[in-house]
C-alpha cells in the first residue's frame, strides 16, 4: 500500500505535526462535495438515471433553468425528467464537464458545460454556472443558470456560436 501526499497530510493533521510544517499546512482543503458531483457526472455519462438519483434527496428541488421553466420537485419528477432527457441524447455523446468549482459548508458552486448530441443529430453545448445545496452527502437543491434561448436554438439545429465556443475552450477543473 502506498501513501500519497494527501494521506500523509491527513496523518500529519491528526498527529498535530503540521504545526511545525507551514508549507504542508498551506495545502488546499480536500473537497468534500465535488466528488459527489463527479460521481453524478460519471453516472449521467453512462445514462444511468438511478446512478444519478442515488445522490439526491427524496425532496430534491431541481431548478434547471434560470427562471424560464418551473422547478422539478421530488425524486420521482426528477427521474421522469432525466428519462426524457436520456431518450433525446445520443448514448456516448455526453461531454458534461466542469471548468471550475468552489465549495463552502454545504454548498458547491460550479462552472461548466453540458455538451452532447441529440439522437436527431444536433450538437448542443450549454455553458452554465450553478450551485448545489447538500444535506449530508446528498443534493437537496440544484440550481443552474444559463440562457435558455441558446439551448433552444442549438436543439433546433443552429450551429454553436462564437460566444459559446469561447466559453468552452478552457481547461477542466482538477
Amino acid at each position: 500500500m502506498s501513501l500519497d501526499r494527501r494521506t500523509l497530510i491527513r496523518a500529519a493533521v491528526a498527529t498535530g505535526a503540521l504545526a511545525a510544517e507551514p508549507a504542508l499546512a498551506k495545502e488546499p482543503a480536500m473537497p468534500r462535495l465535488y466528488p459527489v458531483l463527479e460521481a453524478i457526472i460519471a453516472a449521467w455519462k453512462r445514462q444511468d438515471v438511478e446512478g444519478v438519483l442515488t445522490h439526491v434527496t427524496d425532496d430534491i428541488v431541481w431548478r434547471n433553468s434560470s427562471g424560464y421553466a418551473p422547478a422539478i420537485k421530488g425524486k420521482a419528477a426528477m427521474r421522469t425528467a432525466l428519462q426524457n432527457m436520456k431518450a433525446m441524447i445520443q448514448p456516448g455523446s455526453n461531454r458534461w464537464r466542469i471548468f471550475d468549482y468552489a465549495e463552502s459548508a454545504d454548498r458547491l458552486f460550479m462552472e461548466g458545460v453540458d455538451e452532447f448530441h441529440l439522437t436527431t443529430g444536433q450538437h448542443v453545448a450549454i455553458p452554465y454556472a450553478g450551485s448545489l445545496q447538500f444535506r449530508g452527502a446528498l443534493v437537496s437543491e440544484w440550481r443552474e443558470y444559463f440562457d435558455g434561448r441558446i439551448s433552444a436554438e442549438m436543439k433546433a439545429g443552429k450551429p454553436i456560436t462564437a460566444e459559446v465556443k469561447e466559453m468552452l475552450d478552457r481547461p477542466l477543473a482538477k
Binding site: R63, S66, A71, R107, A129, Y145, E166
Partner: protein, 143 residues
Amino acid sequence: MGRCYAILQQVIQAWQAKDIDRVLAFMDDGIVWHYAAAAMPPVRGKAAARKLLERFQADMHGIQWRIFAYSETGDRLFIEGVDDYRTTDGHRVAAPYAGVLEFRGDRIVGWRDYVDLGVLDQQKAGQALSRQVEGLLDRPVAS
C-alpha cells in the same frame, strides 16, 4: 467574510450609488467581462466596461442588487444573486443569475455572469415576474 466577497460588496455599494468611477476602480485595466456569458460577446478593457455601465445605468432605477450565496477559492469568487430594478418605463426587472469573478490582487480581471436574457426581455416588456423567478428570489441575502 472572504477577501473577494468584501471587494464585491464595495462594488455593489458603488453601483447602487450610481458611482461608475468607483465601480471601475475595482476592475483591472484588462478586464474581460461576460455580462451575459455565452449569449453576448464580452466587453474587454476598462473603457468598454465604462460604456456598458453607462448604458446599463441609463435604464436602471432603484437598484436592489442582492447576493444570496457565495463561495470563494483562491482568486475566484462564485456568486448567486439578482439584479432587481425598475426600467425607465416602470417595469420591474429581476433576473436571477450565477456569476464567477476572477481577481488579480484586489482588482477584478474576469467576470462571467450566467443569466437568461429571454427572461429579462420578457420583464422589460412588462410581463410580471414568473413563479419560477419568484422561487429563485425568495431567499435570504448572504451575510
